[in-house]
């Protein structure tokens, strides 16, 4: 009798508890007000912005041999679509070596490897989001990026590129303006879109025609950029040059420029190498 009642009590408890907390399909998503609005720049008398929404740099530590890395791409695409011009992703190929240099199909660079090691060699895919905190798996990228997009930037940035086709040389000028006092390092990178090269897919098979975007090719002004200090209301322009390797397609290349310090990336902008300029609010002009 005693045993029976124990069994009965346990069974009842199990059933009672097991039936709770199921979430129906229709109730699984909660709409959120992210509170992210691009504030008006309220230009002052000289046409300079008095406030700039911070853009977010996503350093995607990825690899051609990393099976789950393609899963990070939709996260980046969603963010780029939702916040046009405010999300700058850079694919830093690193970690496991792609075992071929034939036809320049390997996208890994020593520079990328250096950044990857600096980030603590995390399991890939891993992302550093605005260099705030450590690295995160892609499931946290939206949340982290939105946290940064709610912030203001103390600095406005604008890239002007001049490309010399014969010498395959790009001259990058980054105009900075201090909305507030800002200091840190100014970093310029070259990235390339539309590279067709092999990638191991989540199914375990290789896709030899995989399209790789925003792949880090090189740093224009050193691996860690150069120190910069901008006073409030000050204009400062920094210029640097880079020569494009033969197999890089200039028409698919862009310059990424950002200012960072110990608190993270203060602001980031991106502009194509050829004949386009971009302002800090994301407008592009021919």
């Amino acid at each position: 009798m005693k045993i029976k009642s124990i069994i009965y009590a346990v069974a009842c408890t199990v059933l009672a508890l097991a039936s709770c907390d199921e979430v129906d399909k229709a109730d699984r998503y909660i709409e959120v007000d992210t509170g992210i609005v691009a504030p008006p720049e309220n230009p002052d008398d000289t046409g300079r912005p008095t406030s700039v929404q911070r853009a977010v740099l996503i350093e995607d530590f990825t690899g051609q041999m990393c099976v789950n890395c393609p899963n990070a791409v939709p996260v980046i695409e969603q963010l780029e679509e939702a916040y046009p011009g405010k999300v700058v992703a850079v694919a830093i190929h690193s970690g496991m070596v792609f075992p071929s240099t034939i036809g320049n199909l390997a996208l890994q660079t020593d520079l990328g490897e250096q950044y990857y090691k600096d980030a603590g060699s995390p399991a890939q895919p891993a992302g550093r989001i605005g260099r705030v905190g450590g690295t995160y798996l892609p499931d946290r990228w939206i949340l982290q990026a939105q946290g940064i997009l709610r912030m203001q930037s103390p600095v406005a940035l604008k890239i002007n590129n001049v490309y010399d086709e014969t010498a395959r040389k790009v001259t990058v000028s980054v105009e900075t303006y201090g909305v507030e006092v800002a200091s840190g390092n100014l970093q310029m990178w070259l990235v390339e879109d539309g590279i067709v090269a092999p990638q191991i897919m989540p199914s375990g098979t290789a896709d030899i025609n995989y399209m790789h975007n925003h792949v880090l090719r090189t740093a224009v002004n050193g691996a860690h950029g150069e120190p910069i200090a901008i006073a409030k209301g000050e204009d400062k322009t920094v210029t640097a040059e880079a020569v494009l390797a033969d197999h890089w397609k200039a028409e698919n290349m862009s310059v990424v420029a950002f200012v960072y310090n110990g608190d993270g990336v203060l602001h980031v902008v991106k502009a194509p190498v050829i004949a386009k300029t971009e302002t800090s609010d994301g407008d592009t002009e021919e």
């Binding site: 005693k2 109730d27 959120v32 041999m65 099976v67 963010l79």
Partner: protein
């Protein structure tokens, strides 16, 4: 209050209770036991085998355990214990959060004949561990104890009831989720006399575990976050029958919606399932084991998000491995890690002793052991793209999915050829799906041959040698291994070995290298000291189907163990 402080207070409270009790009663006996384990590596960088770069001259994992027991009589005792862990400069390859030092474990326990209460850190397993198993495995860097309380009651002979609640250790912090559970195990043979008297032992068990976790923001897209269940419930039922040499176990467990991070199906709302049937039969000189297990979405963890790099932490459950943990170096080169989120696993093991003075038994008898393990993916059809918030996938129970994950067929023969010489031979045919286990590399199919000989010169001196060869067409290449070990009883053992094959550095196979090593071990009473020098290959170190990646290393090793 930090964890260390909390544990220290708990321990102090426990000890003061113990000491005051000890002073009250002169009849009681007070015993102190414990152990020290310290493994040290003085590393050297070696780019040929791909060691890391080190900023510390020495690395160590050091543990000191102390337990105090006050015994009243055979059934009644108090005990308390604590473990000091020094992992501030840990050996290579452990998760980032592993680093630290302090009190990693402290408990007090009061035990009576029919009743036991534990407070502090404790380890527990319900049934086979399908819904709850907390344990410590130092080689893997796992200590997922619960910090809380546990009560065990044995109301009548043959019935054991356990109830517990606590928070799970996650390296140097505790996860927020509260884990609570209960387990009942009834030995029917003890309650129904005729059953026991006929030699039929039937045990029934049932368990329940609840994970209660707070809300957190997990974005499914830029405008939506997931509505997360605060409670995840899991139950387990099992029956074990034993009669004569026959042993049968059937166990089934299920858990409710538990959206957690997963590489393939992150934050899905599918339920989890696991079923196992295991049967063994043994009689003199012969044993047979047959078992099958199907797991489906059954990684049960005490936190929803994954700490980057902390792949083996925060597991509440553990599914038994259906593949052997091989001890021979090359048989263990490609070990399989159990996949709780989806696999069909089968194992068959046959052992037979050919008796002395028979054709195959010879003068001293011959032992033969045959093992076959096969692990396959389960069938999966994506539902709603398998995205966060969806049901993930559908799966038919019996149907296999695409691809074999692992298979090994091995034969071991143990043969004593003379009074001095014993020979062990092993052949293994192995398929290892490196893509599934490690994320790259395809299928490695290998044939492994092992010969081990042991020659006893006299009562004090024994020489043991191993020769192993792994042959494969995979680009990882063939491997060779040789070992000589001289034991000089009762104090010394000298071991030299060499492994030869292609180092895998960041996924690229290099030219073949020698992984030489030498060790001297000294044992005296409870002390054991081992000094060594050599190279260690990068690879997976597994225990019970749970694996840790160990990077290549080279240097001087010192290992000290002391039990008191």
């Amino acid at each position: 209050m930090t964890i260390s402080n909390r544990l220290l207070c708990l321990l102090a409270a426990g000890c003061s209770v113990l000491m005051s009790q000890a002073q009250d009663d002169g009849q009681k006996t007070l015993t102190v036991t414990g152990s020290v384990q310290s493994d040290v590596l003085i590393p050297q960088e070696d780019s040929k085998i791909g060691t890391g770069e080190y900023s510390d001259w020495g690395l160590t994992n050091t543990y000191v355990d102390v337990n105090v027991m006050s015994k009243y009589d055979d059934n009644d005792y108090f005990d308390a214990g604590a473990r000091l862990e020094y992992l501030q400069h840990p050996l290579p390859g452990f998760d980032k959060k592993f680093k630290g030092w302090g009190l990693g474990n402290a408990y007090v326990r009061f035990h009576m004949k029919k009743f036991e209460v534990t407070a502090g850190n404790f380890y527990e397993q319900f049934g086979s561990g399908f819904i709850l198993r907390t344990y410590e495995e130092r080689s893997l860097g796992i200590d997922n104890s619960l910090l809380g309380g546990r009560v065990t009651v044995m109301p009548v002979d043959g019935v054991t009831i356990k109830a517990l609640s606590g928070k799970q250790r996650n390296y140097w912090s505790y996860n927020d989720a509260l884990i609570s559970g209960a387990d009942v195990e009834i030995g029917l043979d003890r309650l129904i006399r005729p059953l026991g008297e006929s030699g039929t032992y039937l045990t029934l068990g049932a368990s329940f575990v609840n994970k209660h976790d707070g809300d957190e923001v997990i974005m499914s897209d830029v405008n939506h976050r997931l509505n997360l269940p605060r409670n995840v419930n899991a139950f387990d039922v099992r029956a074990r029958l034993q009669k004569g040499g026959l042993n049968l176990l059937a166990e089934y467990a299920q858990k409710t919606q538990d959206p957690v991070y997963d590489k393939l199906y992150p934050y899905i709302y599918r339920k989890g399932y696991v079923a196992m049937l295991s049967g063994s039969y043994s009689k003199r000189g012969m044993s047979l084991l047959l078992q099958a297990k199907r797991s489906d979405n059954m990684a049960f963890k005490s936190r929803r998000t994954l700490d980057e790099g902390a792949l083996t932490s925060s597991f509440i459950n553990h599914l038994p491995a259906f593949t052997l943990d091989h001890t021979y170096a090359l048989a263990a080169l490609y070990p399989y890690a159990t996949n709780a989120n989806g696999e069909w696993a089968y194992q068959a093991e046959l052992g037979y002793n050919f008796r002395k003075n028979t054709l195959l038994g010879g003068k001293y008898g011959t032992k033969v052991k045959l093992n076959y393990s096969h692990v396959h993916g389960i069938n999966r059809t994506d539902r709603d793209g398998g995205v966060p918030g969806s049901d993930g996938y559908g799966s038919s129970f019996w149907k296999w999915g695409d691809g074999m994950y692992y298979q090994d067929l091995d034969v071991q023969v143990e043969k004593k050829l003379s009074r001095q010489f014993k020979l062990n031979l092993m052949y293994m045919n192995q398929f290892y799906n490196q893509t599934v286990v490690e994320g790259h590399g395809g299928m490695i199919h290998s044939d492994i041959f092992v010969a081990e000989g042991k020659y006893q010169f006299n009562r004090k001196l024994t020489l043991r040698g191993e020769a192993q060869y792994l042959s494969t067409d995979h680009e990882s290449g063939d491997w060779m291994f040789g070992l000589l070990e001289l034991s000089i009883l009762p104090r010394f053992m000298v071991t030299v070995s060499d492994m030869y094959g292609r180092p895998d550095i960041d996924g690229a196979y290099q030219d073949k290298e020698h992984y030489y090593s030498g060790y001297v071990t000294y044992t005296n009473g409870g002390h054991r000291l081992q000094l060594g020098y050599g190279r260690t290959r990068a690879g997976y170190n597994c225990s019970g189907g749970v694996c840790r990646y160990v990077p290549a290393s080279k240097g001087v090793t010192v290992s000290y163990n002391y039990n008191f």
